[in-house]
C-alpha cells in the first residue's frame, strides 16, 4: 500500500504540471482558435526566470515565481501582438507554424545563455529534499506543494471562467467571436488576457518543472511536449479536459513505469500516453471532454 501512496502522490504531482501546461494550450485555443506551440518555450523561460529571480537575485521562491509570471505573460502577450494577431484571417496553420518557430527561437535563446544552460538548476524552492508523511509514507514535500498550488490555480481558473465577467466574455468569444463582438464583448481585450493567462500558467508550470526532485535544464522543454497527449485526450477546447487529461497522463506514465513488463520495452511509460491518445482519437476525435463543432450543411 505504501508503494501505491508514493506512486499516487508522484502521479498527481507530475499530472498537475501537465494539467497546467495543457490549460495554457486550451485557453489560447478556446479564445483565439490558435495552436500556440510557443507555449513550450515560454514555459522553459518561466522556469529559468524563476531561478534567476529566486536564486541569483535572491528574491525568494514566491517572488521568483511572480517575476517569472510577469515576464512570461509579457512574452506571451508580445507573441500574440506580433505574430498571432497579424496572422488573424490567414490559414490557421500559419499561426501554429509561426509559433513553432518562436518556440525554437525561445529555447535556443535560453540554451545560449551560459549561466542558465551549463548547469542543472533547482529554482530555489524552500523545501529542498524534505519529505512529509502521507498516511505514514514519506513523500517529497515539493510534490504536495505542486499538487495543492495546482489545485488552487485550477479551481480559480474554473471559477474565473464560469463566474466572472471576463469568463462570460471568454466563453462568448470561444463560442462565436463575431457574434460576441456584435454584442459588445471586448474581443481584443479577451484575447490579450487569454494569451497573458497562458503565459502565467506556463511560468507556474516552468517553476514547478525546476522544483526538486526535478532539476531544470534546456531539455526540460520536453515536459511541455509530454503534455500534448493530455490536451488531445481531454479535448482541445475543454478546460476540464485539460485538467483530467493532465492527471491521466501523469498517472499512466507513473504506473506504466512501475508495472509494465520488460517485454514492452524500456520506454513503455513514455509511449503509453500516446497509445491512449490514439485510442481516444479513434473513439472520440474531439477528446473526452471536447465538443465537436456542429455545422449546418
Amino acid at each position: 500500500m505504501s508503494g501505491h501512496i508514493s506512486l499516487i502522490v508522484s502521479s498527481l504531482a507530475i499530472g498537475s504540471i501537465y494539467a497546467l501546461i495543457a490549460l495554457g494550450f486550451v485557453v489560447v485555443f478556446r479564445a483565439s482558435g490558435a495552436l500556440n506551440f510557443s507555449h513550450v518555450g515560454v514555459m522553459l523561460l518561466g522556469g529559468y526566470v524563476t531561478f534567476q529571480a529566486s536564486r541569483i537575485w535572491e528574491l525568494g521562491y514566491a517572488t521568483g515565481i511572480l517575476v517569472a509570471a510577469i515576464v512570461a505573460a509579457g512574452v506571451s502577450l508580445l507573441i500574440y501582438l506580433t505574430v498571432a494577431r497579424p496572422l488573424a484571417g490567414r490559414p490557421v496553420m500559419a499561426v501554429a507554424i509561426a509559433t513553432i518557430g518562436i518556440d525554437i527561437a525561445l529555447r535556443s535563446a535560453v540554451g545560449a545563455y551560459r549561466p542558465w544552460a551549463v548547469e542543472s538548476i533547482e529554482v530555489g524552492s524552500p523545501w529542498g529534499a524534505e519529505t512529509s508523511a502521507v498516511f505514514g509514507v514519506p513523500v517529497f514535500s515539493s510534490h504536495l506543494y505542486v499538487i495543492s498550488v495546482s489545485a488552487v490555480v485550477v479551481v480559480g481558473l474554473i471559477f474565473a471562467v464560469e463566474r466572472s465577467r471576463w469568463g462570460l466574455w471568454f466563453r462568448a468569444v470561444a463560442e462565436d467571436e463575431e457574434a460576441a463582438a456584435a454584442t459588445g464583448v471586448p474581443v481584443r481585450r479577451v484575447l490579450l488576457l487569454a494569451w497573458m493567462l497562458a503565459g502565467l500558467l506556463a511560468a507556474l508550470a516552468g517553476s514547478m518543472v525546476g522544483t526538486f526532485p526535478r532539476l531544470l535544464q534546456p531539455a526540460s522543454a520536453e515536459f511541455a511536449f509530454r503534455a500534448i497527449p493530455a490536451v488531445v485526450i481531454g479535448g482541445l477546447n475543454s478546460i476540464k479536459g485539460a485538467i483530467v487529461g493532465g492527471l491521466v497522463v501523469g498517472t499512466i506514465e507513473m504506473y506504466t513505469a512501475a508495472l509494465a513488463p520488460a517485454g514492452l520495452g524500456v520506454n513503455a511509460h513514455l509511449v503509453a500516453p500516446y497509445v491512449l491518445m490514439l485510442a481516444v482519437l479513434l473513439w472520440r476525435a474531439e477528446g473526452l471532454f471536447g465538443t465537436a463543432e456542429v455545422r449546418r450543411l
Binding site: G33, G111, V232, G235, N267, L270, Y274
Partner: protein
Amino acid sequence: MQRRMRPRTITRVTAVFAAMALVLAACGGDDPEEEPAPESAEEDEAPDDDAEEDDAAEEAPEDEADGSDEPAEDIRAECDVTQGVTDDTISITMLNDLSGPTAALGAPDIGEAFRAHFDAINADGGIDGRMVEVEVLDHAYSPVDAAQRYEEVRTETAMIASVFGSPPLQAIAQDLVDDCLVSFQSGSSGQLAQDYDTIFAPTTTYGHEILNIIGWVIEERGETDATFALAYQSDALGEAVRQAAAFGAEHYGFEYVAEASHGPQDSDLTAQLQTLLAEDPDYIVYGGLPNQLAFLSAGAMAAESDVQFISATPGFVPAVLGSPAADAVQANVFISGPYSEWEGDEPGRVQMREEIETHAPDVAPGQGPIIGYSSALVVAEALRIASANDDLSLHGILEASQQVSGFDANGLLPELTYGQYPDAPRVPSHASRIWQPEAGPAAGMVPLTDYFESEASQLFTEPVL
C-alpha cells in the same frame, strides 16, 4: 477576425505533432531483452592474458567498419589527402553539446578546457610553428545535428578531434572511417572506438568503469554476498552500462534482484525507485546522468533506505552538490572514473589549472574539464607525431595517432598506448579510480582508490554495437 479551424481538425493536427513527439520519446527505447547477450559475457570462463585482444579481433565488424581490416600500408585515396593544414595552421574540429540535454551537465566545459590547451600551445608557438585552430560546433546531442555539422567540415578539417556523446558520434562513425578522419571520443561509451578504426578513446570506457566499481565492492570491500539492482537510461550510455553490468554479474556469480530503466529526460523516477527498493538491494548499479542519479539518491534517503549507488563518470557533476540532493549524494553515491584530482602539486595538474584558468577562466573545476583537457593533450601528441613525421595528411594523422605510446597526459590519465588494428586496441586503458562526492574539493569528489582494473574489467570486451 481570425479564421477558426474545426476542433476535430485541430485535434488531429495536434495529434500529428504529438506523434512526432512520440517518435522522439521512443528514440533509444530498444528493448534490451530482444538484443543478443553480449558475446563477451559468455567468455569469462577461461581467461588468459590475450583474451581481450583476441576478443577485439574476433568482434571487429569487418563489414561495417570497412577499413579496419586494411593494412596501414594500403593507403586509400580518401586518406591520401591533406586538408585543414596550411604552412601556418592546423584546423581541427570538436563536435560538442552546447545547447542540448547534456549542455546542462557540463559538456561545454569539456570543450572549453579542450580549447584552452590548444590556446596555450598556440601561445607557445604552436605545433612546429603551426597554430592549431579549434572549431567547436554544436550538435546539441542530436545525431541529426551531428551529421549536419560533420558535413560542414568534412572536407576542410584535419581532424574531428573530439566528439562528445555516443549518439552523435555513432551518427558519423562510418563517415569518419570512410573519410579517414581521426577522432578521439570524449564523454562516450567507448564501444565505437573499438568498432571503427579511426576512432580512439582517450579515457577508460563507461563499461569498464562500471566493472571496476562492481569489482571494487566485491574484491576490495569484500562484500561477496552483496545484493545488486540495476538501473539505466534508455540510450547508448545506459546500454553500455547494462551490457557491462550483465557481464559483471555473470563473472562474479550474482543476479540483479531488480532492474529498472528510464528515458534520458525522465525527471520523476518514483516508480523506478520503488521497483528497485522493493527488493532491498545493497547496491544499485546506475548507468545514466546526474539529475536522475540525484533523484534516486535523494529518494532512497527519503525512503530511509541504506542502499548505495555505484555509477560511472556521467553519473555525477559537481553542480549536483548545489542541489537539494547534495546530502544524499554525498552519503550514498560512489563514482568510478579515470581522471586525476583537480588539486595537487603534480606538474600535470599545475599546468592544467594554469592553462584553463588563463585561457578558459569561466570554466568551473570538475571532471569534465579534466577529461576535456586530457583529451586535448592526447590529440596534441598525435599532431606532434604527425608533424614530426612530416606527414599531416589524413593518413599521416591516423598513423601518428596509432603511434601514441606510453602517454600518460602528464599524469592526468592512466598510461595510453594506441596501436594499429588489430594488434593493439584503440581503447588502451581499462583502469579507473573510485570517487566519493564531497563538497570540499574543487571537482566535488575525493578519490577512494588509485587506478586499478577489476578482474571483470580485465576480461571484458565491449560488444559490437
